[in-house]
Symmetry: C2
Subunit: 486 residues, 2 copies
């Protein structure tokens, strides 16, 4: 047996390329949201691994027969839920090369190209985002690809924590406080818990419609002063540009001014919306980032790059290295000792790391800056179209002003019960024709329509709106007794 025989690789590789191409051709035929019941797969597949080899043809047939029904089709043009994870030909090819070379680029010498291409594309991308000079290598900062926002926050939070504990001693760990709003992504709470912040010292400041659910600098300052008076130590602020719930934007500049007074580490999480900042007209949303310590966004959401690809820049890479480096004998080498190279394992949680820069490089080159801007702008235009359709219908309302390509809307509450919107969403998704998700904004249940699938066009948005209207009409025409009341 040769598990990497070039001839077989060629034959089976072509088979899978055709399989995926056909998948994209037919993707609209599948229900967007999987309609299976819990436990469906164990009823269809054997309970133990086969003793002997099986042909790829049989395996792909099983993917089609048994995996497809359980897939929620994130690449469907009718996927409007959560935030998208859009992909592209270029990025999939990048993943193929990454898995094909399969280098473990923990340090420079283990595969210099993996490190150097990562520095290069992060520099390209930093320039595309017009990041301030101190985040880029020629300003003594630097960029790194982490797996996800959680990792970016855990790493920067660990660095921030250790910077303080080195001065105050480890016992002070129980006094450290971190701040965000109640709209900050839940990964911040998880990260804070992981690095040992006392759960009682996690501040999710309650925001309201009056600030459009952006974190208020006054609330922040008030909370910090209360904590200081109680003998606690303010450590870290996570500000968000484009929150997960409704794409709200925290006002970076005034927030940074507050946090800086207390020498806190400021992280800007632009997981979703950061990609839009490659367009000059959206760049304003990260104004003030020059006062932050670190900035991250997920290319794996809106920049045509599949999971996982979280782009993190820091002003002081050495703060990461101080907390995250290790120096075992079995990795010692001349390049590291020369201090002329980056060993990215010291900027992240794990030792081993995939060559993720390849897919990002392929995406940037295969499309070019102008096309990537068009891609973002097109999605924002389509979201605006949907927003207009909602606004034209007196039965509906747009609940929250649109910043990017997310529309938060609901059936207008006059005379109808709140549960109706949950029923509407359930009916829409059960149809399999489109998939949307929900959130609550200021206590109000709303439907989320996020435009972002690579294959989405105007036709899909108009059709999605028709699906919404059909189901709303059918629900609203029911006798009130059959509508669930809230």
């Amino acid at each position: 047996m040769n598990p990497l025989d070039p001839g077989e690789f060629r034959r089976q590789g072509h088979m899978v390329v055709d399989f995926l191409a056909k998948y994209y051709e037919n993707i609209e035929k599948y229900p967007v949201l999987s309609q299976v019941e819990p436990g469906y797969l164990s009823k269809r597949l054997p309970s133990s691994a086969p003793q002997d080899e099986e042909p790829m043809e049989a395996i792909l047939d099983d993917v089609h027969q048994h995996i497809f029904p359980g897939l929620t089709h994130w690449q469907s043009p009718n996927f409007f839920a959560y935030y998208q994870t859009n992909t592209s030909t270029a990025a999939i090819l990048g993943e193929m090369l990454c898995a094909g070379f399969n280098v473990a680029g923990f340090n420079w010498v283990s595969s210099p190209a993996a490190t150097e291409l990562e520095s290069l594309v992060m520099d390209w991308l930093g320039k595309m985002l017009d990041l301030p000079r101190p985040f880029l290598p020629f300003g003594n900062g630097g960029g790194v690809i982490e797996g996800n926002t959680s990792e970016a926050i855990i790493c920067t939070l660990t660095a921030a924590r250790d910077r303080v504990l080195r001065k105050l001693g480890h016992n002070s760990i129980a006094k450290l406080v971190v701040y965000g709003s109640d709209q900050t992504n839940c990964s911040f709470q998880k990260a804070a818990r992981v690095v040992g912040i006392d759960p009682r010292n996690f501040r999710a400041l309650k925001m309201t419609r009056s600030t459009l659910f952006g974190l208020s600098p006054d609330s922040l300052e008030k909370a910090i002063r209360l904590d200081i008076n109680a003998g606690l130590i303010p450590l870290y602020l996570c500000a968000t540009v484009g929150t997960t719930s409704c794409a709200a934007v925290d006002p970076l500049e005034p927030l940074c001014k507050v946090a800086s007074k207390f020498s806190m580490w400021i992280h800007v999480d632009a997981a979703y919306a950061g990609a839009s900042c490659i367009c000059p007209e959206y760049r304003k949303f990260i104004n003030g980032v020059e006062f932050a310590d670190s900035f991250s966004f997920n290319a794996h959401k809106w920049l045509l790059t599949p999971l996982d690809c979280c782009c993190l820049w820091v002003k002081d890479p050495n703060a990461l290295v101080k907390s995250l480096s290790t120096d075992p004998e079995y990795l010692k080498n001349e390049a590291t000792e020369s201090k002329q190279v980056i060993d990215y394992a010291d900027w992240q949680l794990s030792l081993s790391r995939r060559f993720r820069a390849l897919k990002l490089w392929l995406v940037l080159r295969s499309h070019g800056v102008q096309n990537l801007r068009s891609h973002i702008k097109n999605h924002c235009r389509l979201a605006k179209l949907f927003e207009e359709l909602v606004e034209e219908d007196p039965q509906f309302e747009v609940v929250f002003p649109r910043n990017f390509a997310l529309v938060c809307f609901r059936i207008h509450p006059s005379g109808v019960a709140g549960m109706l919107n949950a029923q509407l969403l359930h009916a829409i998704n059960a149809s399999g024709r489109v998939f949307m998700s929900h959130t609550t904004v200021g206590g109000v249940y709303v439907l989320r329509f996020a435009v972002g699938a690579t294959l989405v066009t105007e036709k899909h948005v108009i059709m999605a709106w028709k699906v919404v209207q059909e189901h709303a009409n059918s629900l609203l025409s029911m006798p009130a007794s059959e509508q669930h009341s809230a």
Copy 2:
């Protein structure tokens, strides 16, 4: 522009399949260890992203011209450094499908197949390893694919920490102590630092040749008692099966007996050697795992699966969930509320997660258990062959008894200086013909010869030994004044 046009996907996909097939055909022509200088790539590539799209042909040409020289070829059959990250056709196809579907399987409903296939393959693999019943779903345990060992340790360590802190209060965090040996992988130290263990409370117990560098239960118990007497709290033991340095094995059963007395969480890290335990003759190395709380190994090292794929089983998944779950409104759904499904985001650090189960499923099916066992046994046989060649040559010695497919050896010290072995390694790797790495074992510098590349055959092992001998002869024939002295 359509970044996911099926026709273009097909055309460019076939191009990359052929590109990789050709790479494997020619892989022995490249120097195994990259020979570039730091900064080589920025001299060859533009300093900003292109404004307009570039054809895939030009990009692949640049991969060949500019990336290849900076690659260390981990898939070369002449790669014997570190521990391998071997890959296979099946796994690369799995990565293609993963990137192609690009689902973010954070919870069950976001793509049921991603969750259910992961549970299924982890169950298959658990059975292949003959893991004790309490680690498998029918014994109330469970398996999950993490990105890497660091993540597996951070997650279990966080769960263990919180289990104690829930009883004693968060202030006790500064008293928690974790234990391993000085041979434990450096990711344990990093993980302990990340989760807020006081660096002074990290015990890397010094091991010696007398226990073959395995952690001694007596040393462990002595250290624990000292810590308890000092008012500290023993928390977590990381035992290793197949250490990174020299593949030493900690004696699980007696270690677990000690740690259990103090109600510690016991993790077994078999990152490298775990894969071998699918062979009945190697299963003995994890005897005693039944007394541990968690067990992990990296399929991305020796099980034909590219990065990243760390397989973790725990006896009490709920301990992970208690520490790592979040429950934001925008992810609420009926399936989660029914408690009939697993939401794997609650078993790992990040929210988003790749559909990594696909590649593992393809590997297990495409090869079958018997072939995977042969694959492991063949590498151990080749390592044994190399070991015999070393032993036959009076100029050399095997420094450490071989457990798996790693041989630690050096030029015999009689009459020659210690630095000679470092010189030998440098000369071997600079030749580009093979790549080995080094470590120190009990203060002695040794060369590491790890057999594990997918494409390796007897011919490559014999050739590698010839390369070693040639360079050794050439070094030893130099006048002593030209040999660096230690």
